[in-house]
Amino acid sequence: MACESWKEKLDAYFDGELPATDVRALNEHLAQCASCSAEGLRRVQLKRAVQAAAHKFTPDAAFRARIQKQISSSPRRTVWLPNWFAAFACATAVLVIGFIFVKFQQSRTGGQQLFGELVDQHVATLASANPVDVISTDRHTVKPWFAGKIPFTFNIPELQGTPFALIGGKVSYLRQSSGAELIFRTGHHQISVFIFQEQKLGNVAVSQNAQSALSFQVETWQQNGLRFFEVSDAGPHDLLQLRDLLKAAN
């Protein structure tokens, strides 16, 4: 490449805009060419002279302060609460909402676990060779049997004329509290009715979703400080009918 062509690249070279491959090539040329080196030196000197001379004007302090103040005090959108207070209120609201949400989730999860335990007990009863501790179709026999064994009492409805028959009962346990399990029969289906003290179970959210999520039907209600659970593979109509009988008796 002729020197004129190399000199055309000198501006970009000293401005740091030349591609790396051209920089290497130009470096090699400058090492060998006195004319281009001298021209390069002149251009660097001019560059530095302009750099030094250009820094001529400085603003006075009062003008700077005026601009600074203008920027700092630029108009803001009106808010009817101080920002720090509002931000604190929002943060608190978010924390409270988050806490309630987490507690609700825990409660829902707890409810699902509880239903699962009851279903397990019902299945164990079905599979057991001795499903009940007191065998009797007479409610006047079964009810007194629980006296002294559980810390509460309950009533068993009159079942004559209904599709239900009492098989018997046994003591059951849930969340370290004792309760009663009554076994009823309707057609070919067996229904377990669990009765516990509401306060001993803790705060458990019971939902329709939990009942339908299991392979058994689960019905639950609260009455007079007692929590009743029905677990069965019988149809929902049967459970609701037995529920109404138990509610009426209690």
């Binding site: 002279a49 302009v50 250009a54 603003p59 003008f63 920027i71 630029s74 108009p75 959108r77 931000a87």
Partner: protein, 206 residues
Amino acid sequence: MQNRYPGFLFREIFFRVLGINEWVSWFTLVFVSEDRFISGSFEELAMPLFDRLYNFAHWLTQNREEAEDLVQETYVKALKGFRSYQQGTNFRAWIYQILRNTFLTSRTGLKWSSVSLDEDPESQNLPVSSSTPETALLQRSDQQLVQEALGELALPYREVLLLCEFEEMSYQEMSATLAIPIGTVMSRLSRARGALRDALYKKQKC
């Protein structure tokens, strides 16, 4: 929204992670004033450039009072238009462009904007490079001479030299600031340097 002030980003990440509805996040936006963040981040970007902007403005206007007015108007326009500025892009080039455009629409600037480089008779005879022995005089050029020569250059040459040599802008930045192609930046720089060299040479001879 283009201008992502820190609080906005925090709010976006925080509420989208929690999955809280958009109305909640917009509700908090009212309380966590966006204007405060915009003003704060503009100040952080703009004030460090204040001295250089003033120096450049003075070189353009060649008058202290006009330079102050120009800088003040630039900051006002830049603050107003800061919402349209894309964070992460070249702020310096952006604000210098505002200053330059503000100057060109001012009374002084309109005189220069009406003069094209091609009409400048001196530009016709400017060599691309000069390698006469007399250019060695540049070694002894004092600062005042250079400043005088710089001040007498045509505005397009003066501003491109200032942006390159003093502001140390890249060709890309100058292209954005001056709103001209990079090729034009390079040719204008070359002519500007030639013009300055000639001006200095003439002053040396006087």
